[in-house]
Every structure is written in C-alpha cells, then in structure tokens.
C-alpha cells in the first residue's frame, strides 16, 4: 500500500485528486462509449485508406443521388460520395473540436484559477476577458485568415479565443466559492505555495463543470467551424468536415435529410461518448461516490 504512492507522486502533483481510485468498477456505459469513440477516431485517422471514393471528387451527373451500391449513403450536391465525406470529415472536425476544447479549457483554467484566487489580478484579468468576449468569432476568423492565410490554425484560433473568457468565468466562479473553504486555510497554514493550492486544492473543484463546458465547446467548435467555412473564413468547403457537410446539406434539409443525418449522427455519437466518459471521470474524481475497498 505504501509503495503505491511512490510512483504516483508526480502524477498526483500534476493532476491533483485525479488519481484513479482502486476498487472502482467501470459500468458498461463508459466502455461502450470508449469503444465508439475509438472507432470513430480510427475511422477518421485511417480515412484515406478506407474510403471507397475520393471524398473531394465531384461528379455533376451524380448529384443528390440516393443510396446505391457505389454510393452507400448517396451523393451530395456536387455528386461527391457522402460516405467517404462523412468518414473523412471526422479528421478536421475531431481535430478542431477536441483541440479547441482542450486549448480553451486549459488556458481558461489557468487564467480562471489565478483570477478567482487573487483579488488584485481579478480586476484586471476579468476586464480583459470582458473585452475579449465582445469580439465576434467571425471577425476574428476573417482577420486571422488574412494574417495567417487560410489554415486550420486560423479557424482554431477564431473558435478558441472567444471561448476562453467563458471558461475563465466558469473556473473563476468555482474558485471564488472554494477559496473560502477551511481546507484552503489549512493548506495555507501548512505553508503550501500558491500554485500548489491553486492546482491541487482548487483545480479539482473546477473539473466537473469544466468537463461539461469542454464537451460543449467540442461540439460547438465543430459546428462553428462550418459557419466560418461558409462565411469564407474557415477551412475550404471542399475539404469535408462534419460541420460543413451538414451546412452544405442545409438547403436540402427538406428534400434530402440524409445529408445532414449521417454527419449529425457521427457528431452526436462522438459527443455522447465524450460526455459519458466525462461523467465517468467526474464520478471517479468524487471520493464521496467511491466505494471503499475491503
């Protein structure tokens, strides 16, 4: 038992209370979720090897066709194979969704912790965040594309930057309550440094709301990417992403809903899985929900 703490020590420092408790049993839900997510990620990564058609090859004569043997999910308005596009679409979408979520959550977390804990910093940081919140991501996207050239990074930036203030606010609000807890006083009395208190005592409190916010950002980034594409400030609409497949299918919603259905299904499955995993992580983080081992 003693030894078990040794290798975990550095990890513990980094992740606060996240150490996986022993005796925790995963239910079927998270396992299925992990498998679904893994399959979708695999499909996306391996897309170039497995798709039946070139996802960008257009064929005007095959526009908006229903499912057939050559096109199992039919074709879109450019006569492109929907199946290939949906599979390939995961590449950009998952990348943007997950990285936007991670980046904005990480940056927001750091800023929010500091801002929530130090009153002096709070006044300044939050005013900057207020300002940042007011910049529309479309404008940011167009400007970033202009500065940086059209690239996935510009899109990432344009999606992530406006999310940061919202994450900061969330983290800060949790810290504001938590910093009044006596155990924080106790940590001060024990001579813990501020970074340590922030990261080890306060940060774990923010995780549950952050998991929620993070999955939301992930989903909304994937959808926002499409909006930006269509305003000419995103990834070229030629490159399939779940977002822009759906956005392109928008016009055909009443005539050919399957154009939206498939990418929508993939996205929903993904987000559902991430949510289930997030919930599981949350439960694991809460010792009060853990069972004591015998």
């Amino acid at each position: 038992m003693a030894a078990s703490h040794q290798p975990a020590s550095r990890m513990q420092w980094l992740f606060g209370a996240i150490a996986l408790p022993r005796g925790w049993r995963l239910g079927a839900g998270p396992i299925i979720a992990a498998i679904v997510l893994a399959i979708i990620v695999m499909l996306s990564v391996l897309a170039p090897l497995i798709v039946p058609h070139d996802p960008m090859a257009i064929d005007a004569l095959q526009r908006l066709k229903g499912p057939s043997e050559t096109y199992p999910l039919g074709t879109d308005a450019y006569g492109r194979d929907v199946l290939s596009r949906v599979i390939t679409g995961g590449r950009v979408s998952l990348f943007i969704g997950i990285s936007a979520a991670i980046v904005s959550v990480m940056i927001g977390l750091l800023i929010g912790l500091v801002s929530g804990f130090f009153r002096m910093a709070d006044a300044i940081i939050m005013r900057i965040m207020d300002s940042l919140m007011a910049i529309p991501s479309i404008l940011l996207a167009i400007a970033l594309v202009a500065l940086n050239g059209p690239s996935i990074w510009s899109v990432m930036g344009a999606i992530t930057i406006p999310e940061i203030p919202r994450v900061v606010r969330l983290v800060r609000s949790v810290v504001l309550s938590a910093r009044e807890e006596p155990y924080v006083e106790a940590a001060i009395a024990l001579g813990s440094s501020m970074p340590k208190i922030l990261w080890q005592h306060l940060m774990p409190n923010t995780l549950a709301p952050l998991i929620v916010q993070g999955t939301y950002i992930c989903a909304s980034a994937i959808l926002t990417e499409a909006i930006l594409s269509f305003l000419g400030a995103g990834v070229s609409t030629e490159i399939p992403t779940w977002g822009n497949i759906m956005a392109e299918g928008r016009v055909y919603f009443q005539l050919k809903p399957s154009l939206i259905f498939w990418p929508g299904l993939m996205l929903s499955l993904c987000i559902l899985s991430i949510n289930l995993l997030g919930d599981t992580a949350r439960d694991m983080l809460d010792p009060r929900l853990k069972k004591r081992e015998g």
Binding site: A2, P182, E185, L190, G191, P204
Partner: protein, 553 residues
C-alpha cells in the same frame, strides 16, 4: 453527587433498536460497523451512549434517522422500532414525516451540518415551515425565542448571519435550536455540547431536561464527557468496536462498572485538580501576543450592518515548552485569536511575535517560510481536510512543503496515525469515511507532523473519548518534553485544561478577564465569570477514576 434514579420499568418505550447490524455497502467480508446493537429508550428517559471514538455511536444515530450515507453504509439486519413501525422498512415519504415531527437529531459537526449559503435563522425557521402552519411573524418569534433559550447572544444579528460568521459553539447552538424547536418525542443528540463552555452547556442541558419534563421526550445523548453523563443520564450504554459492551443505570455504571473497557474509560477521565506547576523556562517567549484586536467587518449589498468586535486588547506570551490554555464563553473570540495568530485572518490591530518575528503585518509570501514554526488544529476538522484527498495525502502536504522526502513523510504519517490511535488503512481513506473523533485525530496528526515550535490547538480533543483523549494528551506532553513545543490550548473542558495547562487565560466578550497560573485560575478564581465557569463544571463532585464521590468538595 446526586444521580438520576427514576425507574422506567412500566414506561412505554419510544425507540427499540434490536440487533441492528450495519455494514459497508458491497463489502460483506469487512467487519461490520455496527454489530447487533440493541438499545431501548423509554418516554422521558435519557440514554447516554458513550464509548470509544469510532465505535459506531454516530452510525447508530444515523441509522435511526434513516440517513446513512447512501452507497457507503447500509443496515443489513435488525430492526429499529418506533411507534410499532420498523423504521428500516419505511418508505422515504413516511420516513420524512417521522423526522422532525417525532425524532430530531443534533448532528455532531455543526459546521458541515449547516447549509453555508442560507442564513441560520432561516434554517431554523424551515423546520417550522415544514411542520407547522404559523404566520411569518409567529415563526420568527418562535425562532428568536428558541435562539434565546439556547443562550445565543445578540439573536437578531445571529438570526441574519451565515454559518461561517459564527463561532463553533454558536453554530452548535443553532443545530440544537433546530432540533428542539418542534419539541420532538425522541431527541438524538450527537455530542451536542462539545463546542460549548460549561456554563452554556449547563443551560442547554437544563433546557433539554425541561423538555423531557414537559413532553416526556426521550433522549439519546452521545457524549464523551463523563461529567455530563453523570449529570443527565438515566441509563448508560457503552460502545466499543460496533458493539454495546455494557449497559446499566448511571449510578450503577459509575460505581460498579463491570466491563474492563468501561473501567478503563472511567479511569481515563482527567481530574479537575490542576497539574503540578512547572517552572518557567529561561529565554524569550516563543509566542507573544500584544494588544491584539479583531473586528469583523460587516457587509451587505446596500446596507451596512454593525461590525462585530470579536477580540479586544488580548495580551499573553507562551514560553518554550509550556502550555497556555484559553477557556471562556462560547463566542468570546478564542478561535478568532487563534486564527489571527496563524495569520489566516488579518488582525485589526496589535502585534504577534513568533520566534522573534513580528508577523502581524507580514505579507502572505513572507509568511510562508515561517509557517513551519506555528501550526494549528482547527476547531472544525472535517472542513479543514480536503474532501478529495486521502488522509495520507493531507498528512504529508506540510512536510513536503518543508522539503521532506515523500517516503519519509509518509512513513512518519503512518507512525503518527498509529500514535493517535487510528487504524492502519487510514492513510488511504477519505475524510468522510471517518468518525468525528477520528477526523479530529487526523487533524492533530497533521499539525504535529510539522514539528512546529508553536502549536495552536482549537478544541483539539473535544470529540475524543476520554481514553483516546488521554492518549493524545500524553502524546502532546511527550512532544513538548522532547521538542519544547509551546502550546496554545483552547478548550471548554476544564478537566483537560487542568491536566495540561501551565497558565490559563479566561475570555469573555472578546476580552481577557483573567490570566494566571492554572492552579490559581482553577482553584482560586477571582473573576466572577471564572467562578461561574468552575461552578458549572459537570460531575465535579465525582471521582470517576475511583468510582466514588470526591471527598474534598
């Protein structure tokens, strides 16, 4: 000494617990937390439950309330009979009706048991909202009335306060008020007076006695204070390791304990006679406090409320290796002084010197290296432990900050846990999985793991049964001998103060009213308040250790 001697042979019983067994959920192999506990309380009877800390007293009471933590503990056998119904089989709605109407409970740890974001007045009032149909005005009047009855000062202010703005004892009295307001048939009080000074305690006890008189309330009283037991109990049950080991009318038990454990317990009760004086060591005092003052600012969105003067002109010094006790009225500013000394709050005025360093005005950053010199055991141990951290992790936090190697810190932590009488697996458990007294011991272990020069102990042993208490006090004494720790010991328990303090400070209304050697304060008190305090010490005519009356009072 006059014991209660009423017989309850033909009085109907209110609560009948038969063979109650409680186990850790999903763990059949582990030893049960409660092992076939049986207990009967009759109308108007006061049953005291005493015993080792962690023996299952709180779990017993929670089982009666149907409030065992879901997913952690569950009742696997036996019966809890109330009015002919088995509470273990009641549905949630029926159980809800039972609570407060028929049974009320005073929880052990008042800080965590009060909702931090609702004004305490409203929290009391809520009981009335749920179970009566009074007008708003009547309700408020009832609440203020009960608050007065539990001797809360300044009830209008406290009515509007949030729990964190109250002292430990004040919170506890809120809990009591909440439980008493509806005059229940069965009152379960889980260490209701640990944070109360003896005069207030006396008031509360007589309040409960009055209730019993008027309504025939049956009381299950859990306590560590044998003095209280002697004063109020009709019947006493002694618990150890989840089992009731002995059960007898109070006088019988105190005079002729049958079980070995009971005898040990009684023998461990400290006497009220102060310890032999030790001479003051040479050299500068380790801690000196000079005209310390603390005023809690008031705040509200638009209206200003009166600020609270919690401490005024407090002066004292503690030399190396000596112990200074602070006793006094609940809410008199003891914890405030302690927190100022720790610089957890900023004193409004005054000087604090620790190891020759003026710290009252140092910045947080500059304070950090000094932290190892001065440590505190919080009055409220549960909240002072991070609920997400294992005990082991909490224990090594301080030493790691001071540069101790983790392995060494951890083995020292285990050692300390053993010294304070906690089981071996404690390091890997979380705070909520312990009993109140166990958590308090964790807090003590955490503070002494730092080997400080000054230890501030705020009600550090109040939740411990006397045998464990003795063990802990011995430990402190030993450390003091070895390392020369100076201890600031805040307590309500005059017996404890008598045992370990060299000097005693008596506080009332934020001021020091008396300050002298322990012997002088306890045997020849000068201030009226001090005299009242000593008068009120429960069981002072009884010599517990020798199972007889004290001859010399």
């Amino acid at each position: 000494m006059k014991f209660k001697t009423r017989t309850f042979d033909d009085v109907p019983s209110v609560l009948e617990i038969e063979n109650l067994t409680v186990r850790l959920s999903g763990n059949e192999k582990a030893a049960p937390v409660l092992d076939r506990v049986s207990l009967t309380i009759r109308q108007g009877e006061t049953v005291c439950l005493v015993g080792e800390s962690g023996s299952g007293k709180s779990v017993t009471s929670l089982s009666v309330m149907g409030l065992l933590p879901r997913g952690a503990l569950e009742a696997t056998g036996g019966r809890i009979g109330l009015e002919g119904k088995n509470l273990l089989e009641l549905g949630p709605q029926a159980m809800r009706d039972m609570r407060a109407q028929k049974i009320s409970m005073i929880f052990q740890e008042p800080m965590t048991a009060l909702n931090p974001v609702i004004r305490v007045g409203e929290q009391i009032e809520e009981v009335l909202n749920t179970h009566t149909k009074l007008s708003t005005k009547e309700k408020k009047a009832r609440v203020l009335d009960i608050m007065n009855q539990v001797h809360l000062p300044d009830v209008e202010r406290i009515y509007r306060s949030y729990p964190h703005q109250l002292s430990g004892g004040q919170r506890q009295r809120i809990m009591i008020a909440m439980a008493l307001i509806l005059e229940p048939q069965l009152l379960i009080a889980d260490e209701p007076t640990t944070a109360l000074d003896v005069t207030t305690q006396q008031q509360i006890l007589s309040l409960i006695a009055e209730l019993q008189e008027k309504h025939g309330t049956a009381v299950l009283f859990i306590t560590h204070d044998m003095g209280v037991v002697a004063e109020i109990a009709d019947t006493v049950h002694v618990m150890k390791l989840g089992r009731i080991v002995e059960q007898a009318p109070v006088e019988e038990l105190l005079r002729r304990p049958r079980e070995e454990y009971t005898r040990e317990l009684l023998q461990a009760v400290p006497s009220l006679t102060p310890r032999a004086a030790r001479d003051t060591p040479e050299g500068e005092p380790v801690l000196s406090v000079n005209s310390l003052q603390k005023v809690y600012g008031a705040h509200g969105v638009f209206k200003r409320t009166e600020p609270t003067k919690a401490a005024t002109d407090v002066n004292f010094t503690i030399p190396r290796g000596r112990t200074l006790g602070i006793v006094g009225e609940s809410g008199s500013g003891k914890s405030t002084v302690a927190r100022c000394i720790m610089r957890l709050i900023d004193p409004t005025e005054g000087e604090i010197r620790v190891a020759d360093q003026e710290i009252a005005t140092l910045s947080r950053r500059a304070l950090r290296p000094l932290r190892r010199h001065i440590q505190i055991v919080f009055q409220d141990p549960f909240r002072s432990l991070n609920p997400r951290w294992t005990i082991g992790r909490s224990l090594v936090e301080g030493p790691l900050n001071m540069g101790t190697d983790r392995r060494a810190a951890l083995s020292r932590a285990r050692e300390l846990l053993k010294l304070v009488g906690l089981p071996d697996d404690a390091v890997d458990r979380y705070p909520h999985q312990f009993s109140g007294g166990q958590r308090q011991r964790v807090a003590i272990a955490r503070a002494i793991a730092m080997e400080p020069d000054v230890l501030v102990a705020d009600e550090a042993v109040s939740a411990l049964d006397v045998s464990v208490q003795a063990q802990v006090l011995d430990l402190l004494d030993e450390l003091q001998q070895k390392l020369g720790i100076a201890i600031l010991f805040i307590t309500h328990d005059l017996r404890v103060a008598a045992q370990i303090c060299d000097e005693v400070v008596v506080m009332q209304h934020g001021r020091v009213v008396e300050h002298d050697s322990a012997a002088n304060v306890l045997s020849a008190p000068r201030h009226a308040y001090t005299r009242a305090l000593i008068e009120a010490a429960p069981g002072r005519q009884w010599d517990f250790a020798n199972f007889r009356e004290l001859d010399s009072v």
